[in-house]
């Protein structure tokens, strides 16, 4: 059980990081206001 | 005129020269005075009145009236005993003050610094109404 939870936690952490960093990666395609 | 009769019944005297705002002020004063008038129904049992004015010493800020702890019930019985022994309201209160201190009474006595408990609200109300009056007058003139 603890193992599954730690995997879930890892998943959440990594995907959150990707989600919040993604706009910066796509930055060059976007105009700043 | 009917209007005169009506307003008289409210205790206000309607004089044609008086502005509305003055009538309003009189009414305000009347309500303020009602704070000072003894509001309690003196026909009500003394012990009920006392229960509402005496705190339960261990009940986290409740009056005896609000609390049903054993200590509160004890004190309520004591109140009844004292009344049967002929104590009046003040004497019962003093009895408890002697045992528990001033904090056994549910409101501050009007003496010393504690006058400010009542003074600040009254002054605050009057002051804010004055500001209201001046503000509107300034707006009208400006």
């Amino acid at each position: 059980m603890e193992f599954i939870l730690s995997i879930i936690f890892l998943f959440l952490t990594i995907s959150s990081t990707i989600i919040i960093l993604k706009p910066f990666i796509n930055r060059n395609d976007q105009d700043d206001k | 005129m009917k209007l005169d009769l009506l307003l008289t019944m409210y205790g206000m005297i309607y004089v044609k020269k008086l502005k509305f705002i003055s009538l309003f002020n009189i009414f305000i004063l009347a309500i303020l005075c009602s704070c000072i008038l003894p509001v309690e129904n003196s026909e009500k049992d003394l012990y009920i009145q006392l229960e509402k004015e005496i705190m339960c010493p261990v009940c986290d800020g409740q009056t005896l009236d609000q609390s049903q702890s054993l200590i509160a019930e004890d004190m309520k019985n004591t109140i009844k005993e004292k009344i049967l022994q002929g104590y009046n309201k003040e004497e019962v209160k003093n009895y408890f003050i002697a045992r528990y201190g001033e904090s056994i009474i549910a409101y501050p006595k009007v003496e010393g610094f504690n006058i400010f408990a009542y003074l600040i609200p009254i002054l605050g109300l009057i002051f804010s109404l004055l500001i209201f009056g001046f503000y509107i007058r300034k707006q009208k003139l400006g």
């Binding site: 059980m1 603890e2 939870l5 730690s6 936690f9 959440l12 952490t13 959150s16 989600i19 919040i20 993604k22 910066f24 796509n26 976007q30 700043d32 206001k33 | 209007l3 009506l6 019944m9 509305f20 705002i21 305000i28 309500i31 009602s34 704070c35 008038l37 509001v39 009500k44 509402k52 004015e53 705190m55 009940c59 986290d60 800020g61 409740q62 009056t63 009236d65 609000q66 049903q68 019930e73 201190g101 001033e102 904090s103 056994i104 549910a106 409101y107 006595k109 610094f113 504690n114 408990a117 009542y118 609200p121 605050g124 109300l125 804010s128 109404l129 503000y135 509107i136 707006q139 009208k140």
Partner: protein, 649 residues
């Protein structure tokens, strides 16, 4: 599971810090990419808090007593439905609950904000994320709901017996939600403050969230009063306890704000005043969290945790400073020199007066709450400030406000002639005078209750006349007034919803005056099969019964109530004592027989033996109206909030 919940909170904290920083930086540096990133983390935080909450609930449902919080607030014998109650009943859990409400409301506000406002909300969202970060910080380091103990007890302590009542499902969560929700209108006002284009687009969203917050908080307060009346069984419903006051104070100021927002919408004035009001509301709500968690004032409601109090005090001081500075910084935007108040006899003036009275009443209550602490600085002896003080000081002001509730709506915007005022008020004055005569003859002679009653009737007649007039003008074709009446309500939902809410307040006032001034009490010994008479009621003591639920014992006394004038109609009521050995606590529940005229209320004082007991019989006149005001209040709020199809852009 406990580690999991804890680490998810840490992840949430990182995300919320990111969100607050990047919303802020994105706004001031005008970088869209920052905003988009901040939006993502803003919504992700909501997910994290939900997951954390579920973790805690899961721990409760699986009786995971390794978790200290679970062990302290639940037990094996506890009904599973009480798990939800246990979740928010303790210090740590209630923080998580408040945070959950806060982030969900933040998400809803942002998601459903109209597009023309959304790109102005960066600053508001930043502040919301700061608040989220604060709560997570406090929980992670000082009040962890996922604390594990090395020693795992076999059974938990169980939940405080006073909390095992349906009212407990609703009152605390609603009240906490109400207080938590105040941050939404606060940050929206802050957003409008820094929005230099000064647009009127903020008014709708502000009004909606102010009303929402107000309605939730108000309902929470009412349900708390109802719970005290029916469950705590001392015969009253409001003790002016510091925690009760701490919920009431922001609600009063919020009431003021709801009214003055109308003035800003209509005439563009009071902008500065409105910012001050919402800041005051927010600070009072924060004061509440401080007092509730280890503040210096004693209350039956408070959680006992002293270091926490210090943190909330700091947070409150910081937010107060922030509010003041943001007002000073934007001062020029706030003063409108174009429109003015033109007359005392205007809607604006009456609403301003209403505001002043509401704020003053709130501050007076605040003064009473902190006075014991202030007094100690100047006196040697401690003093108490409780119900008698508040009744006398706040009561008259509330009466004022009620009277104003009648006069205000009949005044026109900008200016009303004295003649128009008299014409609009005269029929109501006449009717009220007649009612007053009737009341006086019936025995209502004391000054304060008399004036209160006629004021209530005065306002009621004004509202009824408005509605009759409005219905008549729509009744051109049909003879049936009902569709016309509904048509009238629907065509001006703001105004008529307001009238419905005013009616709720009148019902509340009606019940308060009745119960405060005309209640009757009798303490009496009574034996089984004995019948006593009190104020027109026959009370027959039938029997006592005893039940055992687990370790807890419940002793019930059964009564048959009938009116002396109508002995055949019998009402059965039960009064009981419950004893919970684990908490060494007795809870008292009174028997109530309720009619719109009065409540007959039996408090079981002492079970002497199987056949004898002492009871206190109480008559609470008009109590029924207090509870009636709740549904009316909600109905009025819904009417007001019901969206206008034409305005939806």
């Amino acid at each position: 599971m406990n580690n999991f919940g804890f680490y998810i909170m840490i992840l949430g904290l990182i995300l919320s810090l990111h969100s607050s920083l990047f919303f802020f930086l994105g706004q001031i540096k005008n970088k869209k990419v920052f905003i988009i990133s901040a939006q993502k983390s803003f919504y992700l935080v909501i997910l994290m808090v939900i997951i954390s909450s579920f973790s805690l609930i899961y721990s409760f449902l699986t009786n995971d007593f390794a978790n200290v919080y679970v062990a302290n607030h639940s037990s094996l014998d506890m009904n599973r439905a009480l798990t939800l109650v246990a979740f928010y009943s303790g210090n740590e859990g209630s923080l998580l609950y408040i945070l959950l409400v806060h982030v969900i409301l933040s998400g809803i506000m942002y998601k459903f904000a109209p597009n023309n406002i959304k790109n102005k909300l960066n600053f508001s969202c930043s502040i919301l994320a700061v608040i989220t970060s604060f709560y997570l910080f406090v929980m992670i380091f000082f009040a962890n709901p996922f604390q594990i103990s090395e020693f795992i007890p076999n059974d938990g302590k169980g939940i405080n017996p006073l909390l095992r009542h349906p009212g407990m499902y609703i009152h605390p969560p609603l009240l906490m939600s109400g207080l938590a929700s105040i941050s939404i209108p606060f940050v929206l006002c802050q957003g409008s403050l820094f929005d230099n284009s000064n647009s009127n687009q903020w008014h709708t969203i502000l009004r909606v969230w102010c009303l929402f917050s107000w309605a939730v908080l108000g309902t929470g307060l009412l349900i708390g009063a109802w719970w005290a009346y029916t469950i705590l069984g001392w015969g009253g419903y409001w003790g002016w306890d510091p925690i009760e006051n701490v919920g009431l104070m922001p609600w009063l100021v919020l009431t003021a704000l709801i009214h003055s927002i109308m003035v800003e919408e209509r005439r563009g004035i009071f902008r500065l005043w409105n910012i001050i009001l919402i800041s005051l509301t927010f600070v009072l709500a924060l004061l509440g969290t401080f007092i509730n968690r280890g503040g210096p004032v004693v209350s039956v409601h408070s959680f006992a945790a002293s270091t926490l109090g210090f943190l909330f005090l700091i947070f409150m001081i910081v937010m107060t400073f922030y509010s003041v500075i943001s007002i000073i910084y934007n001062y020029k935007n706030l003063t409108n020199n174009e429109n003015k108040i033109e007359s005392y006899l205007s809607r604006e003036a009456s609403l301003l007066l209403n505001n002043i009275l509401l704020v003053v009443s709130s501050l007076i209550i605040l003064w009473g709450v902190i006075f014991p602490v202030v007094s100690i600085l100047f006196n040697d002896t401690e003093i108490s400030v409780s119900a008698p003080y508040f009744d006398k000081t706040a009561g008259p002001i509330f009466l004022f406000i009620i009277i104003l509730m009648g006069i205000g709506p009949i005044l026109s915007w900008r200016k009303t002639t004295k003649k128009a005022v008299i014409i609009r008020l005269l029929p109501s004055i006449i009717i009220t005078t007649l009612i007053g005569l009737y009341l006086y003859i019936s025995g209502i002679k004391e000054f304060f209750p008399f004036v209160s009653f006629i004021s209530i009737f005065f306002v009621m007649t004004i509202i009824i006349r408005e509605w009759i007039g409005g219905t008549k003008s729509r009744m051109s074709n049909s003879y049936n007034p009902i569709p016309s009446f509904i048509n009238m309500i629907v065509s001006n939902r703001g105004r008529n919803g307001g009238y419905v809410v005013h009616i709720a307040i009148l019902a509340l006032a009606f019940g308060v005056v009745g119960t405060k001034f005309y209640d009757e009490r009798l303490d009496v010994n009574i034996s089984v099969s004995e019948e006593i008479e009190f104020k027109g009621y026959s009370i027959l003591f039938k029997e006592t019964t005893q039940e055992f639920i687990g370790e807890n014992s419940i002793t019930k006394a059964h009564f048959e109530i009938s009116k002396v004038s109508n002995p055949n109609k019998i009402n059965n009521i039960t009064a009981m004592h419950s004893y919970y050995p684990n908490y060494n606590q007795i809870s008292v529940r009174s028997g109530i027989s309720s009619t719109p005229v009065e409540d007959l209320y039996i408090i079981p004082k002492d079970f002497i033996d199987e056949n004898n007991m002492t009871i206190r019989v109480a008559i609470n006149p008009l109590a029924w109206w207090i509870w009636l005001s709740g549904p009316i209040l909600i109905l009025g709020t819904l009417i007001t909030l019901w969206p206008n199809k034409m305005k939806r852009n």
